[in-house]
């Protein structure tokens, strides 16, 4: 699907001295930043993962139901829009009411991302 226009996440001036931008480890396209991290206590298919509030420069795959430790969710995989590298998934719907806060949020797997600038 063509070559997508890439957005960048830049270090906000005068704020967050420890600001980190996360990018796709394959092509270094910016994906998210340390300011968007909601929780670092997640496990993905490849290991540790972060729950992120917002992620950019990704394309969403088809929806599927996946059962995890905290219950079943409708999720879709997210891929880096440049190199189509699988970087995590997005929670679309949750079966359990107490997990609703994850809806619309993203998981980024640490194995697939790196610090970029």
């Amino acid at each position: 699907m063509g070559l997508r226009y890439t957005s960048y996440i830049d270090h906000p001036k005068n704020k967050h001295t420890k600001f980190v931008t996360y990018g796709c480890c394959n092509c270094r396209t910016h994906l998210s930043s340390s300011a968007q991290v909601m929780s670092k206590d997640y496990r993905g298919t490849t290991g540790d993962a972060y729950l992120m509030n917002r992620v950019v420069n990704v394309v969403e795959g088809s929806r599927e139901t996946r059962c995890m430790l905290t219950g079943c969710y409708v999720v879709c995989d997210i891929k880096c829009h440049m190199c189509k590298n699988l970087v995590g998934w997005k929670y679309v719907e949750s079966e359990r009411k107490d997990q609703r806060y994850k809806e619309g949020k993203f998981i980024l797997e640490l194995q697939t991302i790196c610090k970029v600038h």
Binding site: G2, R4, Y5, T6, Y8, R28, C83
Partner: protein, 747 residues
């Protein structure tokens, strides 16, 4: 007298059955009144916005020009003595024509109806001498008027005998006039612009006349001693006077006083060769006098002297207008040069000129790529076309097609493990730089031999395409001291064009840098971010994230399209030239010193996806400060980066989230772009109207080569062949490269 229009004569009209876009309908929906027979009374000259006297002057002048002298005289009589030239102009011109230079004086010139207003009143106020001389010369003028009239009638019976010019009387007059003008010129500083201009015009005319006299003395009279005397006593002083006036006012005359004086002196001192001679002396007395008359007429008010070929000028303007009414009509510059004399226009009806119309037809379909086409580039010599594909499964991402051999695959450029998104040919069409996603850019020698492959099987008499490996690959390493271990990604590339920067190219990175690389030294020449950081005033903001860059054809400007919604232009003409043997490297460029200055910043304010500069063949053309950018959403913008103005916008194509690229084409008269609906959009560059929309890549491609692959429907790029303006290529998400041709005339 009713006039019937012959409606059957529709030879060059649009024929029925051809699809005509709705905006062309104006041709068929002419005002009804046009077809109604009208009488001569309908054309009421008194109601027209044109002045009857001017119209008559134009007619008389045209009759003279096409050789109907008698009719011209008759018309002149019938119109009650309308004069094409006023009597003063006539007097001066006949004096020049018959070499009676002694009749010319300041008085005569002052009476001329000048374009910028006369000097008469000014002279009367400021020069008492002048009014005296004027009074004294009144009688002689009366005399001369009669002689001119006699001469005129003598001319008519064509038995004029060339009278010897009284040179000394001419010299005296000129010296006298100089004495009048010189003191005036001293106090010109406090005069208004109008007086200055007319003063300058008068002096320039006198210089021209004197120059003619000098040349005649030299070449016609062969009297070099008199010529030297004249140059010393008169001509030089007039030129000096002219020069002193130029301090206050700009002149439109081609030569400067200095060069003119040099030219004149060199005629005296050294014999000129024939080329130089034809520059100053047109050969015969008559033709050089005609030239003088022509250059003097530039100073004269057009109301009193119809400019040469005025009617023809008006008519050709009308033809141009008629042609411009047809949006598909593009005047072909090559044609007009070749068929200068042979093209004829019908003056008695509007030109529809369907033979001039432009349309686009598919020529070839190249399906060797398995995945989306992201970039295409013609080599500067127009012989090769390179395509970059997003193919992730094979090592066949970059293909080179031979344009002259039916677009067979010439080479396969292997060695890229990541998708390639940018290609750039060197100006000699020998090297190609490919920029993949990551930082690993590669240089190929496209003529290198390699391993054969079977890509051309479907062609008859096919030749074997070869897979070649890169000549060189490079990464740009960060400086020591930065925390990062990675090198900047390289997303765009542009070669330098001129000999002084041979083998150099600039690479743009989204990681805030532009790198100039030297292929001969195989090393980085400089990093623009570092060069600029030495420039203290610019160190405030970080270097922009470069998405596209171009170097203008004279290697003077580097244009960067930044992610931050602006386009920056830098002057890079200070880059030290390539020297044989002693290659400049990054280490010694600092000692040599390389100063970069920012020329302009265009604040586009929107997301941009592509930057293009016009195809330049003629380096003198002023088009080399134009840039074309694709702007999201849905538009293209044409900017002038020197003037910093938005010249034109082009609408219609779709682009929201993808990188869509565009180009100039057809001698830069057209602008073409890809689109997210898979179509190719082509605009008239000047008027901004859509010329054509071609269904290029919107069909789903049958998945023959790879299964389970869903293709998008973008047309990602359109490129125009730089040498053959009738060929362009487009590439899309369907993995196809399509070659199109420009068709002139009806299909």
């Amino acid at each position: 007298m009713p006039v019937e229009f012959d409606t059957s004569n529709s030879g060059c009209r649009q024929q029925e059955g051809l699809p005509v876009p709705s905006y062309l309908g104006s041709r068929n929906s002419r005002p009804q009144a046009y077809n109604v027979p009208f009488t001569s009374r309908d054309v009421d000259v008194s109601k027209s916005p044109f002045d009857k006297v001017q119209l008559t002057k134009l007619l008389i002048d045209t009759l003279h020009e096409i050789g109907y002298t008698e009719s011209a005289v008759t018309l002149q009589k019938e119109s009650g003595g309308v004069e094409v030239k006023s009597s003063n102009v006539q007097k001066l011109f006949s004096a020049i024509q018959y070499g009676q230079f002694e009749l010319i004086d300041l008085n005569m010139l002052v009476r001329l109806p000048m374009k910028h207003g006369g000097l008469k009143s000014f002279l009367q106020q400021h020069a008492q001498d002048f009014s005296q001389t004027r009074a004294s010369s009144q009688d002689s003028n009366m005399e001369s008027e009669t002689t001119v009239c006699n001469e005129d009638s003598a001319m008519k019976i064509e038995n004029l005998i060339a009278k010897r010019t009284d040179w000394h009387r001419f010299f005296e007059t000129m010296e006298k006039d100089l004495a009048v003008l010189d003191p005036l010129a001293q106090n010109m500083a406090d005069c208004d612009v109008k007086t200055l201009t007319s003063m300058l015009d008068t002096v320039e005319m006198l210089v021209l006349i004197n120059k003619q006299v000098f040349l005649e003395l030299m070449f016609d009279q062969q009297d070099s001693s008199l010529a030297v005397f004249f140059l010393r006593t008169v001509l030089r002083k007039y030129i000096q006077l002219w020069e002193s006036l130029l301090m206050y006012q700009e002149s439109s005359y081609a030569l400067t006083p200095d060069t003119l004086l040099k030219q004149m002196t060199s005629i005296l001192t050294c014999p000129l060769n024939s080329a130089e001679l034809s520059d100053v002396w047109s050969g015969s007395l008559e033709s050089s006098r005609q030239l003088l008359i022509r250059s003097i007429s530039n100073y004269i008010d057009p109301n009193n002297l119809v400019p040469r070929g005025r009617l023809l000028t008006l008519l050709s303007q009308a033809i141009k207008y008629q042609n411009s009414q047809d949006v598909l009509n593009f005047e072909d510059e090559d044609d007009t040069f070749v068929q200068e004399g042979s093209r004829h226009y019908n003056l008695l009806q509007d030109n529809s000129c369907s033979s001039q119309r432009i349309s686009f037809a598919p020529e070839k379909l190249l399906a060797q790529n398995a995945d989306e086409i992201w970039y295409l580039e013609f080599s500067p010599d127009g012989r090769y076309l390179a395509s970059a594909s997003a193919d992730s499964s094979t090592d066949r991402k970059v293909l080179i097609y031979d344009v002259e051999r039916d677009f067979q695959v010439y080479k396969v450029l292997a060695g890229n493990d990541q998708c390639v998104l940018y290609l750039s040919f060197s100006p000699d069409s020998k090297y190609l730089v490919s920029c993949p996603f990551n930082e690993d850019a590669k240089i190929y020698d496209i003529h290198k031999e390699g391993e054969p492959t079977d890509l051309n099987q479907e062609y008859e008499g096919a030749f074997v395409a070869e897979i070649i490996q890169p000549e060189d690959s490079f990464k740009i390493y960060e400086n020591e001291g930065t925390s990062s271990v990675s090198s900047p990604r390289i997303w765009c590339c542009s070669w330098f064009h001129t000999e002084r920067n041979r083998g150099r190219f600039a690479l743009g990175s989204p990681d805030r840098d532009v790198i100039i690389y030297d292929i001969g030294a195989k090393s980085v020449l400089c990093k623009l971010s570092q060069v600029l950081s030495l420039n203290a005033s610019l160190s405030q903001e970080p270097f922009s994230r470069v998405h596209d860059l171009k170097i203008t054809c004279n290697d003077k400007y580097l244009i960067l399209m930044a992610h931050e919604f602006y386009v920056d232009t830098y002057d890079i003409s200070q880059l030290p030239p390539v020297q044989n043997g002693d290659r400049i490297t990054e280490s010694n460029i600092e000692t040599i010193g390389f100063h970069v200055s920012k020329v302009s910043r265009l604040s586009v304010g929107k997301r941009m996806t592509c930057l293009t500069i016009p195809q330049i063949k003629d380096h003198a053309r002023d088009e080399n400060s134009l840039i074309l950018i694709n702007v999201q959403p849905h538009e293209l913008q044409l900017w002038d980066f020197k003037e910093q103005i938005l010249v034109q916008k082009y609408y219609g194509q779709r682009q929201l989230q993808f990188i869509i690229r565009s180009c100039f084409g057809y001698d830069n008269k057209l602008v073409a772009s890809g689109s997210e609906d898979g179509k190719i959009y082509i605009w008239d560059r000047f008027h901004g109207n859509i010329v054509s929309v071609i269904n290029g890549h919107d069909a789903e491609r049958p998945t023959t080569r790879i299964s389970n692959k869903t293709f998008g429907r973008n047309c990602n790029i359109v490129v125009w062949n730089p040498t053959n303006k009738n060929i362009f290529a487009s590439g899309g998400d369907d993995g196809l490269v399509k070659i199109w041709k420009v068709v002139r005339g009806q299909l």
